[in-house]
Symmetry: D3
Subunit: 183 residues, 6 copies
């Protein structure tokens, strides 16, 4: 496993084939919880699903087009966080995440996303990061709000979650906003 | 040429290879005007560019993924209007357009887009149409406003026009809004 | 639907996905009749067959290699007519057609083919059009004869119709012949 | 070299990369003569051309779609003869050939084609072989006539030889005709 | 069939689709015998297997990357011998072979391999030929020993034969060794 | 950067696009030194070379077929070490490495390879690891010897280093040998 330390209890690990079994375990146990605001858990029923996800993620990483990490809390894999699409032409990217229900309430996602913001702005030198969340997914929206993102719009019919079409609250954070707030 | 009549003076024609020469003529004459709010005129310097555009457009049409039409005013090709991406999963599409400066001011784009709305909602049975325009492109935004679209957000860093990154005003129109306003 | 008017009661419409259902309906009802001299009705048992046919036809059109049209008689789709292969190196093409048995006997195919000859010779500037028909398919041969084609040969073992190998009567019409006869 | 004996002085050898140099030598020396009725010598100016020809020929052979042989006269490579397209659906093939001007007048092509007829009818069990020659290429037409082929038609605008479009005399020989004439 | 004579009773024939039936016949009759030291007979249960093998072999031949021949003893197909990979960068190749149990004990493989050595060193001008055999496959090792090869090493875990992993005795013969021993 | 700690001063980092510049710097400075026993430095003259290397390496990693790491000594990138080909069928892999001349003599390669042995045997559960080195590359051979590998053979003409063909000393280490020596 190849890792990047966030703080004492939290690490980001580049996804690797060995993660598939654990991801399946979490999703099998929490499919209803995770599937409330994510489309893919409804189709993720075996190890092959995650192997394919991981292979695609590493290909995206190898092409400099995305970065997908497992969230390791106290050494255990408990979620995933990613720069989904690194767009060099617009100098921006968008962040996605999910976390096991077991680990909610400790700010893990916010800390993990914060590390990705550091990568996006300080290492990749991007100008903007976006987060889109279903309008009613308040927990996810809170992550963006806590990190200083601005709500840029509410786009209707933006995502199909297992047949239910939801609207998206779209949040944005510019590099200059990040740098001034980080000071 | 295969056409669809809009009204006495206006027709939409499915793009075809024969349009390339006329499109190049317009763009050569009005590159600065068209390039103010469009990215591609900056790269459109020969017939091959438009042949490739037309081939892609027809492939998109053959796959049911897009619909790209020339705007014919009094029998002359003067612009282009399109359903850029027909998304069956979200049951929505987005509309793009451009028109020769010569023909501005007569509501041609509004009438052409109106016909595409009819295709999108009545024939393709879609649930939503979007139009995105650069925030400062007031002429383009007016088309959406006149046709009853709602402004859903202003997304920052949304398009790169020849090196200038602009924000997008994103407008949306739901099928139910269209049908009630059309009555 | 994008169309081209032939005369008061006849139009050619570029094939489009929406035609698949009606084509299937005709072939289901007349498979024996159409299958007498055509190979494909024997394999055309569902909408997918025609969707694939239409997609290929539109790809051929997008590449400038073929042109496939529905025949619309009094607004109803009743058959198909096409430039099957536009050969720029030899500056020629070949025409194929089929028509619902319901509409036989009114010269519809001859009028539709005549329009394609106009496209081939006047718009595409080709030098020759060919029509090949099974030797015993007298109805199809009459179309070529009526339009002034010359019988160039009888090629043995030229087509496999559901296991039956038939000979082809090959007809040709040169641009100069067409233009002098059209006067 | 892998060969097949025709008679004491004549062998057919499956084409192989080693033939490219000799083919180029013949074509460089006789380009005008060979180019009178063949299209490709006008484009065959280096070893790569023949390497590509040979690779394609062996791929066709590996797929059971064609058979391309060098003609070896008294051990020397002097020409080429081939089943160009083995069509299992119609159970037929067509034969092509060329021979160095140096070796004309000894019936070499007729003997080599005769061996291919034996392969086509007796080994591959095909039902028909075709030979097409430019109408004015009397030498090539004589090969078909001598071997008992029937003239099935004269197809206009059938081949483009370096910008000159020629008509084709199309000859056919059925298996039953071959077998009765061979007795 | 295209052949190459080795001596009065032995010929090498370039593999061709017609060989598939006979190869299957041999392997069906001798699967246990051949499968003792070869991996593929365990998976070779139908004509398609050999058709695919032959197609690949001819594609390798067409690309100048391999040479695969049937062994014809007194006109009958009894085995296979090949230059498996012609490596121009290292100027070497490796030889593989199998022979029907019926024909063992007459030195047929040694004579066939000897012809391939002649092709490899004299025609292809390679600098080295390798033969690898399972350590306990004494018959195969004897072929290399008889032809003057040097044992270069015993590589552990070199081949998986139907689940059994065996070590390889690797033999090499340099061009200079071959030429001096051939004198 | 995603890392794996070996000891206090040494880390392995999964290769990433950001390494290209540093790799080029090392190779530009030490091309003669590194090119003595490696083929690729002779062709590695720009950032694109290493970007392509890194992309391929990450694709291999995503497919579970290889593992390529940078060697970080006291936080600085000074070399590369890899499982080149993970062969599940034979349950083995082979290891390659290079190190900046600046860092020679401290056992860094041996420590880095030792970590890869741990990954290969303990995590990937492979049965064998191989190391091949040019016969005269004594430094590289010493790494294998120090780590308990057995010399299995000397394969002649095994690698082409910029036109010079060298023989390979092939070393192997079985899992059982590793485990007994590690105790």
């Amino acid at each position: 496993m190849f890792v990047r330390e966030v703080d004492e209890s939290l690490m980001l690990a580049l996804v690797e084939p060995g993660f598939a079994a654990r991801y399946l375990e979490i999703v099998d146990a929490e499919r209803e919880y995770l599937g409330r605001w994510l489309a893919w858990p409804h189709n993720a029923h075996n190890r092959e699903f995650f192997m394919s996800f991981i292979t695609n993620a590493l290909q995206g990483y190898s092409a400099g087009q995305s970065l997908t990490c497992g969230i390791l809390y106290q050494g255990e894999l408990v979620g995933n966080v990613s720069l989904n699409k690194i767009d060099r032409q617009l100098s921006k990217t968008d962040i996605g995440y999910w976390l096991s229900e077991q680990c909610q309430g400790q700010g893990l996602v916010t800390r993990a996303v914060s590390e990705l913001l550091h990568i996006a702005f300080d290492e990749l030198k991007l100008e903007k990061v976006e987060i889109a969340a279903a309008v009613e997914n308040l927990a996810s929206r809170k992550v963006a709000q806590r990190l200083g993102f601005t709500l840029e719009g509410v786009i209707r019919r933006a995502e199909n979650i297992d047949g239910r079409v939801v609207d998206h609250a779209v949040y944005g954070l510019l590099a200059q906003e990040w740098h001034s707030s980080s000071v």
